[in-house]
Symmetry: C2
Subunit: 428 residues, 2 copies
């Protein structure tokens, strides 16, 4: 058994989990998986992190080049994140013929093609299971066990922060602001929560999942994303009254007109397995032409869950190195499907708007919907706390562009105060 | 790209699904996965099946030796089932150095070691994802993505027939007999339902899952199994009143005293993700020391779902053959842990018994529980339809052997008519 030398770059949350698992299970990996993994070098800009982890000074460096340029290193684990230094590290490591394991969703969602090309050029392996869904096995299953399927759809609750917030809002009536403050206090949300609450994190993840599921490159820039800032506990209550939950769902669908990829707060039926995924848990729901409906559930974030995926990839990487069979499964984006414009979407919508509580208002709004070709399935009007009328409209299936032009006109009405939420309904 | 020649033995439910997927996606497997899979030979005892599938007479045979002995065949798919002919087919194919893909849970649960040894002897690959959970990827994830974990527990709802029946009983109050008849009418249960309703099918599956999860061989014979024949809609109602669902759960746990492996109807908390798995769906809940809690959900049976797993394995087999890297992951049972005697189990129990509705009965039964060291958490007595008293006892944690001796003594009481159900509670 030859020792596989590992260079770990980035000793933050996930990196420290990797160090812990390697220390705890090195002997298990030898006996159970037949690979010997040695943590040969670690890099971080902050030497204190290495000390806190009890790493020997001999193997620590602040210069990533010490890892990448070391010919003894077989596998580089990139846990810096982002698309700056991390991109250079990954490309250079692959260029040097090293296997790379990364948890970097931004990199894979933005520069995925470049990274896969760099791996192919030297026959190196690139693994990124931890980029989506933390410890949940999803990229491996899509590339292996489910490869016999034409995947029709992928629906993911892939952002634990927003799912935690929506769960707290649903179960205890918290407002968005209070739920966010609690998420921050518990370490589930950053001081600047933009990436989570505006759906950008989920957008990167569905770009990666869709690229694999549909064999066609989808990038972060292709994904229209809306977040949960406008959601109120009242929206969640309205939804529940008609049998739906509101979740931030990352959606990828194969359609005859191209790929339908988007992230937004979504009304899904309460009895759907995804509707029952609560708190910081993540789940990815995959529909294939043979397997039917399948779901992968687990902890989508956290040091050890994400490190579980990283080290799982690392063991696989080591098996391939020992067996001299790297490059078995490279880039699977072998086709090129267009990504549909969200303006062409046709679905049902939930619209909550606030208007003056006076005669003729409902009729004025309803006639604009009608003139725009939007047919209404139900409408509920209630008196809001400020004395306004809060009116919730559920439409029949309508075109996104028609909804948008209707809402633009409705917003111009003097009697309309503001449009609170616009949610899409997904009958998955 | 060299063509990988496939020999398919068994053209029943799963086999016909395999034929369908190969016909539908052969070109996709070439372009997307880089492997060319040719259905070179098919065997079945019934030639009509081949005709019904539109298979050319050239590639059909009724003699399995025509497949195994053909040097042009690279991969043998065994879909006969059982441990008779199937065992010989698998051993001979591996002995001839061919890769084998099988969906045969009975074979792997009973002769798993022999099969793995035969594969190792010639360096052949053996794949069996379809043996557990139909199309749900679970064996792949356990052997790959989750390999970084010490798995602490595996809980499976792995028998769709009984889960369908229990769901019908829970949701519509059907009796066991009516639920069974409906399952049979809808093709979910065999004319002889023994393997499903007595937990034997689930026992084979947990033997396989536990062997992989705990790196230690567990066979079908090691697994005590109890089925659902004694469950009544009343039991399910009682359970729900105190916040539990009744599911047939296949349990595998790593404990300091050895492996705790068993199948029985189990009370699990209603808010646990496994409790929400309804109908014919299956789910496997895995707890690892790094990943935490994760669950795999999907269709556990049916032609195409099972064939999805078989063909997923087949594509993987072909990649290994093309890449000249077979034998990368062989037997993972590298340790030898004892399987605990269920008599040593300590858990809470639910006991429903029927007794004469007369003074002193409750006291007589309670004193036997007390004398046996079994402490009672709650008791509910109701008048049964036949005028008897139906008494439901929930115990605190107690030893299985104590419960058994208590029940043996209680059954001897003249005033006790019969013991209806004994269920174990699992706080997972």
């Amino acid at each position: 058994m030859r020792t596989v030398n590992v260079g770990l770059i980035g000793l933050g949350t996930v990196g420290s989990g990797v160090v812990e698992i390697l220390a705890r299970h090195r002997e298990h990996f030898r006996t159970r998986a037949g690979v010997d993994l040695a943590l040969a070098k670690c890099a971080d800009s902050n030497p204190e992190r290495a000390k806190a982890l009890g790493l020997s000074a001999d193997i620590f460096t602040t210069d990533v080049a010490d890892v990448i340029d070391d010919p003894a290193i077989d596998v580089v684990i990139e846990l810096i994140g982002g698309t700056g230094v991390a991109r250079t590290v990954v490309l250079n490591a692959l260029g040097a013929g090293k296997t790379v394991v990364t948890a970097n969703k931004a990199l894979m969602a933005t520069h995925g093609q470049e990274v896969m090309d760099a791996a192919a050029a030297t026959g190196a392996d690139i693994f990124f299971e931890a980029a989506v869904g933390g410890g949940i096995p999803i990229i491996g299953p899509l590339k292996h066990s489910l490869v016999s399927n034409e995947i029709q759809a992928v629906y993911g609750i892939v952002n634990g922060t927003t799912n935690f917030m929506l769960t707290r809002m649903a179960e205890d009536g918290l407002t968005y602001d209070v739920a966010l403050a609690e998420a921050q206090a518990r370490g589930f949300a950053e001081a600047d929560p933009t990436a989570d609450v505006d759906g950008l994190d989920a957008a990167a993840k569905i770009a990666i999942l869709a690229s694999i599921a549909f064999n066609s490159r989808v990038t972060f820039a292709d994904v229209p994303a809306e977040g949960i800032r406008s959601i109120t506990p009242g929206d969640i209550e309205y939804a529940r009254e008609i049998g739906y939950e509101i979740k931030l769902v990352a959606i990828g669908k194969r359609t005859a007109e191209g790929l339908d990829i988007r992230v937004h707060p979504t009304m899904i039926r309460s009895d759907h397995p995804l509707a029952k995924v609560s708190g910081v848990y993540n789940a990815i729901y995959v529909v294939g032409d043979s397997v039917g409906e399948t779901m992968f559930f687990g902890e989508g974030a956290g040091s050890l869950p994400a490190a579980s995926a990283v080290v799982g990839d690392l063991v696989e990487a080591a098996r391939h190195i020992q067996g001299s069979c790297r490059g078995l499964v490279g880039c699977t984006c072998t086709e090129s499907h267009p990504v549909r414009d969200i303006a062409d979407l046709v679905t049902s919508y939930y619209v909550r708007l606030h208007a003056c509580d006076q005669p003729g208002v409902l009729a004025a709004i309803a006639s604009i919907f009608g003139d725009s070709g939007v047919s209404i399935a139900s409408v509920i009007q209630r008196r809001a706390e400020d004395g306004d009328a809060e009116i919730v409209w559920i439409t029949h299936e309508a075109a996104e562009c028609d909804i948008r032009s209707a809402l633009a006109a409705i917003e111009q009405l003097d009697v309309v105060d503001y449009i609170g939420s616009v949610l899409r309904v997904e009958e998955l």
